[in-house]
Amino acid sequence: MRLLEVSLENFRNIKSMYIEPAPGVNLFWGENAQGKTNLLEAIYYLVTGRSFRTRYDREALPWDAPADTTSIIRGRVQNPETQYNIIVAIDQNRKEVSCNEKALSSLGLLWGKMNAVLFTPGDLEIIQGTPSARRRFLDMEGSQMNTRYLHHLQSFNQILKQRNALLKSDIEEENLAENLEVWDEQISEHAAEIYYFRKMFLERLTRVSQEIFNNLGDTGESLDLVYDNFLGQKNNGVIDKLTIAAIYKKDLKRLHSEDLYRGSTTCGPHRDDFIIRINGREARTYASQGQTRSLAIALRLAEIRLMEEYTGHAPLLLLDDIVSELDEARRRHFLSLLKPGYQTFITGTDADTVAGSLPVEKSFHIKGGEIVLENIDI
């Protein structure tokens, strides 16, 4: 999978830009606040239809632009079999994503056409942040790897909204069961699928990231990812989907009055988490800064391998400011783990630091939202 062309119009501080990335490593370099991360964000939009910085698409519109401005990101992608023209257009009110000149009715139709693994300083949140940061990690990665997972997540969330609306309404307690049942029955099937995927995914992620974590230099430490899920221990290790759905449905029923009292669904995969342990201790509270960085990177590197296993394609790699964050030893280790063969986009303030450790094929000097210098084979 390869990005052949990217062009931008009115995207944050970028008025207009066109690049033809190399198949290997592409470097965006320049001083702070010039537009390097913006360009990476635009590429991420082509892959996922979303930003990795914000939930609000309209933040992409240039601040000083007139109200009817449209941000447009265009990309041409080469898959082994086909080429796709992907366009993301954002204005004040809406976002439209199209593939080969056909508007897509949901982002699910975009996902899977192209995959990317993104490394950003914000990844530390996966280790240090709240459960929702870890769920977002699971869901973004899972959805890219398996669009069925995305479908179950979307359905689950839609039913959850309906169910919660019912719990917030002035429904009488005696009518509650009859009205909730029709949602419980459906939501438990999706919950079982979500459980099943997360369980399997975390098991594979543990295996792969453990190995990478050790290679990164923090030798000998054990790494565990424990799925802290809505079933607790009730399933006794059984992961048959029908059994899981039945257990969850029963739990939901047991909690009907409790849920009514709270006005929302108290138990379910929307509350899931996974606990990261180094040598048996929870990393969220005990890991050092250096360990936290290595961990975040180990998870992302593991993700590359899993993405390839699940989809059969090498993902794009988007690396924002990663190289500058690591000390010399970790940097060399990290970069040596990035085997050649991935189309890579990497940002940095200093061209030499990156070029000294990676075979950069094309470099773009970014200044004030423009490319001021383009080099091949520096």
Binding site: I159, Q162, A165, S169, V182, Q186
Partner: protein, 200 residues
């Protein structure tokens, strides 16, 4: 540029209330209406008036009709022992176009959507139960849309029907998940109807 008069604003506001019509589209339509020949515009307004005066819901099946009961309910050649339950009269029209169904219908006038405050008592479910109670019905086919709200509605009705001696089926296959019956073609609807499954 036209000076914005209050009658123009009223028209825009009214058009804006229609489903799928935002403020901008409403303005565009209003300008279009202003530019239309007068007799054409009046034909539009009198046809709106006519449907509001002549068309109402069939008292048996809640289809749209100019006579009560509607032409389907009063057609002696229709098989009266099976009811196809749909969300809206538009779905009845889709099945009629397909020509694959020869029984009678029941339009619920919507589906369960707690987010919009639409609870089962706001639908024509009680009327459906009344019709079945009167006897003569052997099969109820649930053909609500194949998305989460349509599914919830079908489930709810199937539970209400559990105490009757009836075959309750759900149209299956064919209609794409998340698709809408109204836009499904005849072949798809035909297959969906053939592939209906017993509701457990």
């Amino acid at each position: 540029m036209l000076e914005r008069s209050s009658s123009f604003e009223t028209l825009v506001a009214e058009l804006n209330k229609l489903p799928g019509i935002g403020r901008k589209s409403a303005e565009r339509l209003a300008y279009h209406i202003i530019k239309m020949p007068k007799d054409e515009a009046l034909r539009l307004s009198s046809s709106i008036k006519a449907v509001k005066e002549k068309i109402f819901f069939c008292s048996l099946c809640f289809n749209l009709t100019e006579h009560d009961p509607c032409s389907i309910c009063s057609d002696p050649s229709r098989k009266k022992d099976r009811i196809l339950v749909v969300e809206d009269p538009m779905d009845i029209a889709a099945f009629e176009r397909s020509g694959v169904y020869h029984g009678i219908y029941h339009a619920l006038q919507g589906r369960i959507i707690p987010l919009k405050g639409i609870t089962p008592d706001r639908l024509r479910i009680k009327e459906l139960l009344d019709r079945i109670e009167k006897g003569g019905i052997r099969e109820v086919i649930l053909a609500t849309n194949p998305d989460v709200e349509g599914e919830a509605t079908a489930l709810y009705i199937s539970k209400q029907l559990a105490s009757f001696d009836l075959e309750v089926t759900r149209i299956g296959l064919g209609v794409p998940m998340g698709g809408s019956l109204e836009f499904s073609d005849s072949v798809t609807l035909g297959k969906a109807l053939e592939g209906r499954k017993k509701f457990s």
